[in-house]
Amino acid sequence: MKKFGLATGFIAVFLVSFLFSPRMLAQQDIQVPPPPLSEDFFPCMECHADMDPNPERRVLEEFHDDIELAHDEENRWCMDCHDAENRNMLHSASGELIKFEESYKLCGQCHGPKLRDWKAGIHGRRTGMWNGQKEYLLCAHCHNPHSPRYESMKPEPAPLKPGKIK
């Protein structure tokens, strides 16, 4: 939870996000809640506007020091996804700006089959109507973009053994 926390600007605010009015995705009749951005950090430009972008791979010390990059970390660094000029946006490999609300476009550059499955409703959780309006989640709702492996959790209690059922 820590690494997924404050400094990244991404926080899992599932409950809150469900309350916000979902917005329609451009091409499809699918709905997503807003991205899990932290109000403490977003908009990013509030700080980054006055700072020079530093593309150097380094140990982050003052801010965002809890980010643990475990996402093809040998080949990537912040600016590969975050836009250096406009920190409120992401950008694709071709330099096209991408809103956080449409971050799946960024993810889909590498994870094409996953994006396809996600659009079809096969990858990720769906809620709503099987024959109508569905709610989608963004990739970042379940996967921390910096360390996307799904985290393990405590299971609910085991069922009682038959001999204990009284």
Partner: protein, 304 residues
């Protein structure tokens, strides 16, 4: 003479006592048969499939009053019919499931399963990656600090909604059948409780009310369906219905909605644009115990 007396009297007494005991037993029957109007109606109620629309309406009303009296919650019991042109299918992504059992307990709440004695419609089996789908080496009672546990994967099993259901064949009174939209349901008021269907089911998907059911008033789901999640009775069998009370309204089953990893998929097999058809088309699926020719509509697939 005295000998005869001592022998005879306990005998007589016994007979009297026995008659008394027999009277107690048969009075239960009598009570149901000719006691209150409600009890009489309940006792004489025909099986669901041979009830007319009017009769169904009366039954639903009776149930609503009974349930409110018993559980102190206002219930709605619907008998909503299948949506035309639907045939439900389900798919579960084995590569995603982490064995957290969230579905198990959400199902208990949604479907008003008895808390004590405990009942779970969904059984999550922990299996060794090395062995594959192997029931004999699976563990239903795993209890780790965290899941998924190293070297293991998880296979949740619930009613497989067979197209060729052995349970339906086994029932001596026709209290269980497959509906037009492909859900195997039970008429809890017609089931005699012989458990033939449980012996017949190859998936352990049928569950019996061994005792009186107990629900927590604050966790009761009052939106119910006659063939689904309405409170059940001691001595009757029940099972997963794909959340008939939800899916006939167009909603996803509860387990689909609560699965944190999105491993559970549901849809209309007759709709070529549905999620379930996408899976059949683009993923490779497997069914459990295919050699038994039960033809489940519950598919397992590897999403990755």
């Amino acid at each position: 003479m005295s000998v005869k007396k001592t022998v005879l009297s306990p005998n007589k007494l016994n007979r009297r006592n026995f008659l008394k005991a027999a009277a107690v037993t048969s009075s239960t029957a009598a009570l149901a048969a000719c006691g209150s109007k409600e009890a009489r109606e309940e006792f004489l109620q025909r099986d669901f499939r041979s009830l007319s629309q009017d009769q169904i309406a009366k039954v639903l009303q009776r149930l609503e009053t009974q349930y409110e009296r018993e559980y102190g919650v206002k219930f709605t019991v619907s008998a909503k019919e299948p949506i035309p042109e639907t045939f439900f299918g389900y798919a579960l992504d084995i590569s995603r499931c982490i064995g957290c059992r969230k579905c198990v307990y959400a199902c208990v709440e949604e479907n008003n399963q008895t808390l004590e004695p405990q009942m779970h419609w969904i059984q999550v089996l922990e299996m060794e990656k090395e062995k594959g789908v192997d029931f004999l080496h699976s563990n239903l009672y795993y209890d780790h600090e965290e899941v998924p546990h190293e070297g293991h994967f998880y296979l949740p099993v619930q009613c497989q909604q067979c197209k060729n259901p052995p349970c339906v064949k086994a029932c001596p009174v026709g209290a269980t059948w497959a509906t037009e939209d492909g859900i195997v349901v039970v008429d809890y008021n017609w089931c005699i409780g012989c458990r033939s269907c449980m012996a017949a089911c190859p998936y352990g998907a049928r569950h019996y009310n061994w005792g009186k059911i107990q629900l927590e008033a604050e966790n009761i789901n009052p939106d119910t369906h006659y063939l689904g999640n309405r409170p059940r009775y001691k001595g009757a069998v029940e099972k997963c219905t794909f959340c008939i009370q939800r899916v006939r309204e167009g909603r996803y089953p509860k387990c689909v909605e609560v699965c944190p990893v999105g491993a559970r998929k549901f849809g209309n097999l007759l709709d070529k644009d549905s999620e379930i058809r996408y899976i059949l088309e683009n993923k490779r699926v497997l069914i459990l115990k295919e050699e038994l020719n039960t033809q489940p509509k519950f598919y397992y697939f590897y999403g990755t």
